[in-house]
């Protein structure tokens, strides 16, 4: 109960930013960007997800253990992706 209560104004602001970013990312898909579509889209997605997590999910005011859980999840995901890709990206160079 000692936790702070986020004022509603913050929620509205975050929501407006999220909608703006959505419009931006959808707008980008009408440009000829080739492979950069995914990069741009995922980067904007990361910003949006961070906003949701920090404000809607109160991660900003959460305990260290909650941060630990989130960071562990992300770190392990990174591990899965990079080490798997280490196979696929180098396979054309030298594989059996």
């Amino acid at each position: 109960m000692s936790e702070s209560i986020t004022p509603t104004r913050t929620y509205y602001r975050v929501f407006a930013t999220l909608i703006a970013l959505t419009l931006l990312t959808v707008g980008l898909s009408f440009l000829e960007l080739g492979a950069w579509h995914t990069t741009a889209g995922v980067l904007i997605g990361v910003v949006k997800a961070t906003l949701v997590a920090l404000f809607f999910m109160h991660l900003l005011h959460s305990s260290r253990a909650s941060w630990l859980a989130v960071l562990a999840g992300l770190f392990w995901l990174l591990l899965l992706m990079t080490l798997t890709l280490s196979d696929y990206l180098t396979r054309p160079m030298l594989a059996y």
């Binding site: 562990a72 196979d87 180098t90």
Partner: protein, 552 residues
Amino acid sequence: MSSTITTRFVPQAKARPPRAPEVNYLNVAYGVKSWLLTTDHKRIAILYLFTVTLMFFLGGAAATVIRLNLMTPTGELVTADTYNKLFSAHGIIMVWFFLVPVVPTVLGNFLLPLMIGARDLAFPKLNLLSWYIFTIGAVITLWAILAGGVDTGWTFYTPFSTRSARTNVIPTIIGIFISGFSSILTGLNFIVTMHRMRAPGLTWFRMPLFLWAIYAGSIILVLATPVLAVALILIGVERAWGIGIFDPELGGDPLLFQHLFWFYSHPVVYIMILPAMGVVTEIIPCFARKNIYGYEFVAASSVGIAVLSFFVWAHHMFVAGQSVYSAMIFSALSYLVAVPSGVKVFSWTATLYKGSVSLRTPMLFAVGFIALFTMGGLTGLMLAALGVDMHVHDTYFIIAHFHFIMVGGAVMGYMGGLHFWWPKMTGRMYSEFLSKLAALIIFVGFMLTFLPQFVLGYLGMPRRYHVYPPEFQILNVMSSAGASILAVGYVLPLFYLIWSLYGGKPAGPNPWGATGLEWQTPSPPPPHNFDETPIVTTAPYEYSLEETDGVG
């Protein structure tokens, strides 16, 4: 067991001397319903004990038929298809329904709240739910195995499992998928409990090392199991709808399945061994009557193993056609994970130095664990060497290696833990003679079963072979002979442990003179564990009284 022992150590907390228990968790209520609806972690541990013991003997039965069949090179006992279903059943049951859950859900469930001085786990209802999910998964899998069986091996490699196998693949993976959620929920429950429910004064570095091991194992359960779930879903989708996610015919890559599968299944080997290591770390200081050597290093090595275990999975794919560069990365990383395991072995050995070593039954199992685990670990170094793995991969060398870790390691550790905490769980002592005999039989039987398999493997006998060239027969017969001894060793405890419930001497709260909080409460413990929340004042393992400065 004289009362002098119990006063010799410095317990982690000075609780009031436990009174004779009138009400304990066993006699607080009677009837099937009181067990099936319980949220008491101790009762749930007993429920798990029943389930996993049943699964162990079912998996063991499959192994028995396998070993009998391999007595002759032409495999006359069962047909090839039956044989394939048997080793699949053995692997699936033993991995997912015995080795993964056994130490965390039986010993972990029972001891975790006791060791941290809590009244229960953080989410008691979730804990019961875990058991139900586990049991439902087990029932579905068993049904799939008995009604037709599955012949993919426990690894479900694509495209065999998606395109070629004509057996109950989907029901089996549904069963495993469901039981996976039990793993996740149990691991989650344990981690949160350790973060939030520790008794006052019980800092992280005062926690018993068993809990560090359970914590590390829970990290793996929570973060690896989801990936297995996805790999299984993808197999189901591909098999049911013919979408080519892993099928090269349809543009997929079969190696992607192996990546996802081993991202789970390599760390899961450590979920089997880590808690067993934790058990041994409790037993050794108690029976050597010494403080553990290098507490911080042993604690850190548990977490180190858990994290590093996720860096090495593709060493199961050295000859699978992955990139050579990637194989080199994974080989180098595989050596790293051996380091923390080495730290543990050295620390256990050093703990015995200048101790007062008493070879009671749990200690026999623990010493056996160290010996067998060391051999398993060291042969792992051979497998991590790319050049040698190329020869012994998928041969009986691998079989021997991982049975040294899983049976010699995890099962020995579990048996040690069961014997160590049996008096706490039931309030009764078992037969010292029979239990020592069982430990000895298991050790000898194990060696005889699996040492010949190292030789067989280097000779080139591939795994999962129903028939084999005649020159391999003599070693196979030796192995089968050892297996029959091993079987006796595993059945024996069933008898004397059950007998102890009726005829065993009352154990008293602390029969071994151990320091942990769990020994500060009566045996069997009351439903709420402690009369008052204990306040922890010292590190664990204060067995030595002489104030000598710590020089090894």
